[in-house]
């Protein structure tokens, strides 16, 4: 089962390696990990996408809570939530393919944010699934470079994750 964990951590040197180290030391999976400061500069928020049985995810949550730098952990996948990922793709866009590439980007509501006479750089935001679908829609040979942020998530409704 795929789970999305949202974690508030103290904005301290080493907090990220404590979390990442926990996953590797105990053999848990990380599919993606994002981290950045929050509106409160003393805290960072991480989103970790992991997979495992309910027992394993329960252990992951408990072990994360044990870390002294971790302020709060929630499993977003337990409730209604929104997730987004940002991807930048550099694609070959020359000759007759140039127009087709722009159309495909438009269909996926991507934005072309850099252009040369042979390439486009496309910015695309959405669920992991949507980004995967976009890449599949492209001719493999046309993809020059991709970079993805990994998933960020937030709960739906008025509930907020606070210290």
């Amino acid at each position: 089962m795929r789970h999305i964990l949202s974690i508030l951590v103290e904005n301290e040197a080493g907090a990220l390696s404590r979390v990442a180290g926990l996953f590797s030391a105990r053999g848990y999976n990380i599919e993606s990990l994002t981290v950045a400061p929050t509106e409160d500069a003393t805290m960072s928020r991480m989103t970790i996408v992991t997979t495992g049985s309910d027992e394993i995810v329960e252990q992951i949550t408990k072990q994360l809570n044990k870390l002294v730098d971790v302020v709060k952990v929630v499993d977003l996948s337990e409730g209604r939530h929104i997730e987004r990922e940002l991807m930048l793709v550099k694609v070959r866009a020359a000759g007759k393919d140039r127009e087709e590439m722009k159309r495909t980007a438009d269909i996926f509501r991507g934005r072309i944010i850099d252009v040369t006479d042979k390439s486009y750089t496309i910015e695309l935001t959405g669920t992991t699934d949507k980004l995967d679908a976009f890449l599949e829609a492209l001719d493999k040979g046309a993809i020059l470079e991709t970079v993805r942020t990994g998933v960020s998530g937030i709960g739906r409704g008025e509930w907020v994750l606070k210290a």
Binding site: V9, E10, E12, A13, G14, S17, R18, G21, A25, T42, E55, E58, Q59, K62, Q63, N65, K66, V68, D69, V70, V71, A163
Partner: protein, 582 residues
């Protein structure tokens, strides 16, 4: 981290970082610091030199410092403190830190670091201390600002000693120990990201009581958490009130007195038949400060499937210990002492009593398992049996010594045959299984309790891993008694090779052993060799009569003796091998 700092007016005098570090230790009431100086901690050693409150114990290897501080903590319940230099000082200390971490021992480790400007430049004696120790500490800090030093050390003691205890490391760069700051040591501290649960859930405690009262085949399983949580009194009262069988884990020995008829012995890989069978076949299990680890319940699938209707109540201060290897029906997170006190109050207030008839029949089943006499050994042998030595040690010390051990067969025999009556008397490395801890553990214990008898039960392989500490024992007049069960083999390795590797004793025989008697004498101690069963008791009495001398008893034991019962790795705990099976 959010801190409630007092107004500036309350802050005190200006001190150097080194002085602040030592003042913090004084404020914490630290008696002993176990350590070894070096370049990065020179200012701290200078500050130590200028005061008398905190006594420094100079070891011969940093590993010994950590183990000694750890032994002190295990025996007293107070945090052990160690001080080592950067680089190799730290890497030598890592084994000791990991040992304490695995057994949840409260410790504060202060390490020197190269100056902040040199960090990351591969400076002389530099290592990434917080990186190297991160997986084996409860928490660690690198202090880059001298103004943060006192509060960081306060945090370190707070984190080390609350919740599930553990070692906390504070890394102090040399320039930080040299710079000055106003000293203020806060009395209390609040960390928003750290607030261990203390009080157990009332509803869960009621559920637990209900289950215990309905039990037909109950069992109480007590681990090291009961000792760390000072809950031995409550455990004992509960077991006696309910008249239920009780087992202690290796780390829990002494939490419930071994002389009580309700004690069924230690359980686990080398547990008794009665303890393991009762654990496997009970219908209600109360686990107190224990973690169902692999050496205790063996194969978790076998444990669960073998008795699917068994209900488990688990009290532990660490939520992550609950339902980690075994699914639990009634989890109770909280201090074991407080939770048990609440449970006892509920039981005493209510009218219900356990089912006497069911209990009687359960006890008769346990008696049948007990009748197997699974710890029997050949008492007629004219070669010294290691079990016999431990029995004699128990007799000679009237069962009241502090016993430290190393790791291996001798450790298991000490656990099985020295019948511990009180908590904190049995000092050993259960989780990490660190050979070499025994002698430094004994040093820490003897410093804490100079008048108590302290015996280090060891083997000729283990003791050599920290043998240099005999020198520390001489310097500080620590007259511990070393009981070396010398079978010329790494006994537990040899036993596994005999059972599971076709008698191929690959590298488990140790040739060219030192003459331990002469070695002890070379360090300024008394050495004795014992070769006949008839001489064991006399030698032990003579050793303990030499009150002010360290005596190293080199006892030549049976090379072929094995530890029984034994649950082979990966098997269920009811799948025991007994001595008679072979």
């Amino acid at each position: 981290m959010e801190l409630k700092l007092p107004p500036l007016a309350e802050t005190g005098e200006t001190l150097t970082g080194a002085e602040i570090a030592i003042r913090c230790l004084q404020e914490e009431g630290v008696e002993f610091v176990f350590g070894y100086p070096g370049g990065a901690v020179l200012f701290i050693y200078d500050a130590l030199f200028k005061q008398k409150k905190v006594k420094h114990i100079l070891v011969r290897h940093e590993q010994g410092a950590l183990h000694a501080a750890d032994g002190y903590a295990r025996a007293t319940g107070r945090p052990g403190v160690a001080l080592v230099t950067s680089g190799p000082g730290v890497t030598n200390a890592v084994t000791g830190i990991a040992t304490a971490y695995m057994d949840s021992i409260p410790m504060v480790v202060i390490t020197g670091q190269v100056p902040t400007r040199a960090i990351g430049e591969d400076a002389f004696q530099e290592c990434d201390t917080v990186g190297i120790t991160r997986p084996c500490v409860k928490h660690n800090f690198l202090v880059k600002d001298v103004n943060e030093l006192a509060i960081t050390i306060k945090k370190a003691f707070h984190i080390a000693t609350t919740g599930r205890p553990g070692p906390v490391l504070v890394d102090i760069p040399k320039d930080v120990s040299q710079q000055s700051a106003r000293f203020h040591y806060p009395e209390k501290i609040h960390l928003r990201s750290y607030s261990p649960v203390v009080k157990g859930h009332g509803g869960q405690i009621k559920k637990a009581m209900q289950l215990l009262l309905e039990a037909k085949r109950p069992m109480i399983y007590v681990g090291g958490g009961a000792i760390l949580g000072e809950a031995s009194h409550e455990v004992t009262e509960l077991v006696r009130l309910l008249d239920f069988p009780c087992t202690n884990t290796l780390m829990g020995l002494g939490a419930f007195p071994a002389s009580d008829k309700r004690f069924v012995g230690m359980l686990g890989m080398h547990g008794t038949v009665e303890a393991n069978m009762a654990m496997q076949n009970c219908d209600v299990l109360l686990a107190v400060g224990a973690r169902f680890d692999d050496r205790v319940i063996g194969n978790p699938a076998h444990f669960a499937a073998g008795n699917a209707s068994r209900k488990i109540v688990h009290i532990d201060v660490d939520p992550s210990s609950i339902s980690k290897r075994v699914r639990v029906d009634v989890p109770i997170v909280g201090h074991v002492k407080d939770v048990l006190a609440e449970l006892l109050a509920l039981l005493k207030a209510g009218k219900d009593k356990p089912d006497a008839a069911a209990l009687a029949s359960w006890w008769s089943q346990i008696a049948a398992w007990r009748a197997k006499d699974c710890l029997k050994y050949d008492r007629t042998s004219n070669i010294i049996k290691p079990q016999f030595v431990i029995e004699k040690l128990w007799e000679v010390t009237k069962g009241d010594a502090y016993v430290t051990s190393d790791v291996g067969q001798h450790q298991m025999w000490a656990a099985q045959f020295y019948r511990f009556e009180k908590p904190r008397r049995w000092i050993n490395s259960g989780g990490l299984g660190t050979m070499g801890v025994g002698l430094p553990y004994a040093m820490g214990v003897k410093l804490a309790f100079p008048k108590a008898e302290v015996a280090c039960v060891t083997g000729e392989s283990s003791v050599q891993m920290c043998i240099q500490e005999l020198s520390t024992c001489k310097q500080y007049h620590l007259p511990v008694k070393v009981v070396n069960l010398n079978n010329r083999y790494m006994g537990m390795v040899r036993q596994w090779q005999e059972f599971f590797h076709g008698n191929r004793y690959s590298e488990s025989y140790m040739d060219a052993l030192p003459d331990f008697v002469k070695l002890a004498e070379a360090y300024g101690h008394v050495g004795m060799r014992v070769e006949k069963p008839g001489d064991v008791e006399g030698a032990l009495r003579e050793a303990f009569a030499l009150k002010d001398r360290l005596v190293f008893l080199d006892i030549i034991t049976d090379q072929t003796e094995n530890v029984f019962p034994m649950v082979p790795g990966g098997k269920g705990i009811s799948e025991l091998i007994l001595s008679e099976d072979l």
